[in-house]
């Protein structure tokens, strides 16, 4: 099972959601719940993935869903920071410009 933890921090008018560990198929449902839950509590959510050493397409799906949910609710959603490994995956998926602040 991939190891993963998260925490929320207040930042100005918004919230920063910080993940540490790995995001894969085994925990992506939990990640989805955390992202969408955090988005309900704020008008501006920033997801910090600098401590995520691995993320696969299931994690990307979580981010896209968060982005779309925020857009439909006229909220702000962005990925604020990423590790090299996560950046590689976002780049291949051509999502850097959409998700990265």
């Amino acid at each position: 099972m991939a190891s993963l933890s998260h925490r929320l921090e207040e930042s100005g008018d918004g919230v920063v959601l910080i993940f540490d560990g790995e995001i894969d198929m085994s925990n992506s449902k939990d990640v989805r719940g955390v992202i969408l839950g955090a988005l309900e509590k704020t008008a501006s959510l920033s997801v910090d993935l600098s401590g995520v050493s691995y993320m696969d397409s299931s994690g990307i799906a979580n981010l896209i869903e968060g982005f779309q949910r925020a857009r439909s609710a006229k909220k702000s959603f962005k990925v604020s920071d990423v590790s090299d490994s996560v950046r590689m995956v976002l780049k291949i998926a051509r999502l850097e410009a959409i998700l990265l602040a």
Partner: protein, 141 residues
């Protein structure tokens, strides 16, 4: 599984489920590092195998897991070859294709990721008619 005469570096029979993916990734990273992978090549190989296993779990075994998967890796010159075989019902090979990336929506990226990071990717059915076979190649170094 492995063509005759090749330098086999790993052969595993697994009963795969999502909780095993972290262990599989570590195995692939170790293989890559032992056999001359540089820069982001270990990350690329790890991603390709993880996505391949995900696709098997989701689409071949339709989330009814654990399911048997045979994993083989061999070296030919500077090429690392990986072959992954499942024992699910044969899938329609024509349906294994990446979705357009302009269509930004959750899901459907695995095949694109695999094809992007590997130098050669081939899907087929097992010779005995039971299951599907994915063969991938990446030049190392």
């Amino acid at each position: 599984m492995v063509p005759p005469g090749q330098q086999v570096v790993c052969q595993l029979e697994l009963n795969i489920e999502p909780s095993m993916l972290a262990e599989v990734r570590q195995t692939v990273r170790d293989i890559a590092n032992r056999h001359g992978a540089v820069d982001d090549q270990p990350d690329a190989l790890v991603l390709a195998v993880d996505e391949a296993f995900q696709n098997i779990i989701r689409h071949a075994y339709r989330d009814v897991v654990p399911g048997r998967v045979d994993f083989s890796a061999w070296i030919d010159d500077h090429d690392l070859w990986i072959r992954i075989r499942d024992y699910a019902a044969p899938v329609d090979l024509a349906k294994i294709r990446p979705r357009p990336l302009d269509d930004v929506r959750p899901g459907g990226l695995g095949t694109h990721l695999i094809r992007t990071v590997m130098d050669e990717v081939a899907y087929g059915h097992a010779d005995d008619g039971r299951g599907n076979v994915l063969t991938m190649r990446k030049r190392l170094g």
